[in-house]
Amino acid sequence: MSTVSLVYFSWVRERIGRGEETLELPANVVTVADLLAHLKTLGEQYEAALEHQNVIRAAINQEHVDHGEPIAGAREIALFPPMTGG
């Protein structure tokens, strides 16, 4: 088990129903994709937020990463939809 801080933005935040949380992750959660799959087992709100998994963007320690990125050593993992600033 490892402890990680998760932060959510935009409609990912709204659907999950919180902006941040700290979770204990099982050892078999190795990549961002594993994390998304794990979160979807935690309840309906996570399923709704992460349903279209391929559009979800992730950042580890405030840098963009692909879903294949290992999360080992991450202090903060962010999940959010495609950005619409500017």
């Binding site: 932060v7 933005f9 935009s10 600033g85």
Partner: protein, 156 residues
């Protein structure tokens, strides 16, 4: 490259003239300054306001990465980027990019590049509030913005 890069993410509006002056003051080597201001459109009266959410810390860091890349790529002498968050009314400013270079094309290209990457990489999200009081929902990312970004890649 030791070109000054100034990045701010703030709730309050910015002062275009002050930002240009602070970037070029006391320098005789700048030949071209380009500014881009992005404004909130009223969508023919339908839009009441935009609400801009951002990822504090990463928003600044990501815009700084983009600006430093632009400085390196286009040989900019200085660049400033300011992005607002919170509630923004139609006609108000959302974002400002300023670039300075000895000749005009680098300043144009640098500002254009920064805006294309800022749109697709800086962690901001827009929610619409309609003028009639209802929520318009979250703005969807546009494929056109990805296309605009990808034109800067070597393979087109």
């Amino acid at each position: 490259m030791n070109a000054p890069v100034t990045v701010r993410v703030q709730r309050e509006d910015f002062d275009l003239a002050a930002e240009v002056a602070s970037l070029s003051r006391g320098r005789g080597d700048i030949g071209a300054v380009v500014t881009f201001s992005g404004l909130c459109r009223d969508e023919a009266g339908v839009l009441g306001a935009l609400e801009l959410e951002h990822y504090p810390g990463m928003a600044e860091a990501e815009i700084e990465r983009i600006c430093h890349e632009a400085v390196k790529r286009f040989g900019l002498q200085a660049t400033t980027a300011i992005h607002r968050y919170g509630k923004i009314m139609p006609g108000e400013n959302i974002v400002l990019v300023v670039t300075a270079s000895p000749h005009r094309q680098a300043a144009f290209d640098g500002a254009n590049f920064i805006m294309d990457f800022l749109k697709t990489s800086a962690p901001f999200w827009k929610k619409e509030h309609r003028a009639d009081g209802s929520t318009g929902g979250w703005v969807s990312a546009k494929d056109a913005d990805d296309t605009a970004r990808d034109r800067w890649s070597p393979k087109g």
